[in-house]
Symmetry: C2
Subunit: 308 residues, 2 copies
DNA sequence: GATATCTATCTGAAAAACAGATAAATGGTA
DNA sequence: TACCATTTATCTGTTTTTCAGATAGATATC
């Protein structure tokens, strides 16, 4: 016996076995599935060795299943069907889920988080119409409560109304110091808030970023030396890149290159700076509709929420 | 891209994918399952091409499942579990079925049909105690009706009491002419009953074989030239082998060699000769107990009753 | 006995899978 | 910035596996 002492079956062996069981003849099965007779004979032989009992009785005019072979056939069919499903289902279009989703998103989420996920979601759930509205925290919270929005994806750490809104964090993005490629700080492992306070600072105003900034500056005697306030992340990036100032922003919106092609570097802040938390928010009282549930589940899976 | 444009996944790819999903890192998964990192990388890449979407997002410190990857993981685990079950279950000991089976069998069944099946059945159902009794048709039918036997495996074509007994045929075994290796008939394609009637005939008496024989001899003007009557198939075989006579018996009891090592040949009879039908018999009124049902199902599968 | 048809086995060739080496990208650290 | 550690991706040569075709053996049919 020259056989490699197989321990694990292969799918091919299952298919060959099923073909033989269907045909009642190994040679006919070989014709059916367009392989050689010896290939099927060997596949079955291997399976029988693995299982430890004969699957077929061999006759002069074909083969017939033994008791064990009959049991195995059921399992084999199940296995092949499961494989079929596994390959087919992940890209299955979930046409069963219908309806519309009124989704509110905040600025950074709209630009840096939602797009890729929303694209995939729409491919997977083509019958869900997503009406996405970008807005500020206040109007979003109000819309969720009044029912104007089904669901929001926003910065969860900023949420004010905890009586009427639930939230769930999907992603925590670290905040670090952005600076130009030739900044002297880059020779240090990190920069302290004290050091940063001496630098010209570019303040991003969207998503209440300045409010958030206050939270960690307030714990120190220092304040940022804000020379410019903008609602554009691209503006921040460009200004940082050409050396006009530094900024503390989340990794989620970080890109190494500015629009002009200049490099933006990044480094940790010595003091603990809160992460930027992105997640869902919804009204406590009302149940999510089918489309919203699908979207929540979709992002759960994409973010690996259940992974731990 | 040097890849062979795979269409069907392999089980190995499923296993590698699961390992990577569990570990969160391809390289760690490679260590876990003791293969090279490139093997897993390639397996995942192939799967992604087959499915048509990414299963993982690649990061600098590992991989994380995409939405599609999460869905696929469920399927993959199911597939591997099903394979596991398929390989393990056919030899699973059915300890759940308990009880005793009072089984009656007729002579030829006891010697040439039951043993191999009963051995396998007992391995599969160790908690079923089979009390097997060999008897003649009359006492078997009586025992089935009075409840002394739960079930019988016998020659169904011989059953007399059709009012109180049900039966089901499992196997039809062709009857052919047995003769010695140098018999002149062997130069013909077949032998007619007329020709056979001129030969010395060895009559087997068990299982009412002589009654059965009468059924087809009666349709002709000829009668077998019986020179010896015996209840031993071995005796028939030996006597045929040394050329003392011929016999018409079923393939089920045919063996090419006699006890003395002489060859017994076999050839068809020209006229239609009824097959020997082996099957179950049981009392119409009573329901089979669990052990009996298991035995019936076992033989159904072994004989491929549901195959057609 | 000849023929046809079945499964089992053998052999050389083709295909696939793999390990190992290396590249490319990124994070952490000094 | 540089350097190191660690990640995934890719490439290469080798090993392993799979396979088709040929052949043998067994059995049914004619």
């Amino acid at each position: 016996m020259e056989f490699p002492e197989q321990v694990e079956p292969t799918l091919r062996q299952f298919r060959y076995f099923i073909a033989a069981a269907n045909a009642g003849q190994i040679s006919q099965a070989a014709i059916d599935i367009n392989v050689s007779q010896s290939a099927i004979t060997n596949a079955i032989k291997s399976l029988e060795e693995m299982i430890g009992s004969a699957l077929f009785e061999r006759h002069a005019n074909g083969v017939s299943l033994t008791y064990e072979g009959n049991l195995f056939l059921d399992h084999a069919r199940h296995v092949v069907a499961s494989v079929e499903e596994a390959i087919r289902l992940p890209r299955r279009i979930r046409e069963d889920v219908r309806g519309s989703l009124n989704l509110a998103v905040s600025y950074t989420v709209a630009g840096y988080f939602i797009p890729t996920h929303l694209a995939r979601f729409s491919r997977a759930f083509p019958n869900v119409k997503v009406n996405m509205v970008e807005s500020d925290r206040g109007p979003i919270e109000e819309g969720l409560i009044t029912g104007g929005f089904d669901l929001a994806v926003m910065l969860t750490s900023n949420i004010a109304n905890h009586e009427e809104l639930s939230h769930e964090t999907l992603l925590r993005s670290r905040r670090r110091l952005w600076l130009s490629a030739n900044h002297r700080f880059l020779q240090q492992p990190s920069a302290s808030l004290q050091e940063i306070s001496a630098e010209p600072y570019i303040m991003l105003t969207v998503d209440e970023a300045s409010n958030t900034a206050q939270r960690y500056w307030k714990k120190t005697p220092y304040r940022p030396n804000t020379i410019f306030r903008t609602s554009s992340v691209e503006a921040v990036r460009s200004m940082v890149a050409i050396g006009m100032g530094v900024a503390i922003l989340s990794d989620m919106v970080y890109r190494p290159w500015s629009l002009e092609g200049r490099r933006v570097e990044v480094m940790p802040v010595s003091e603990p700076v809160p992460t930027m938390d992105v997640g869902f928010a919804w009204s406590i009282g009302t149940e999510l509709n089918e489309a919203a549930k699908a979207f929540v589940e979709f992002l759960h899976l994409a973010m690996g929420v259940d992974q731990h």
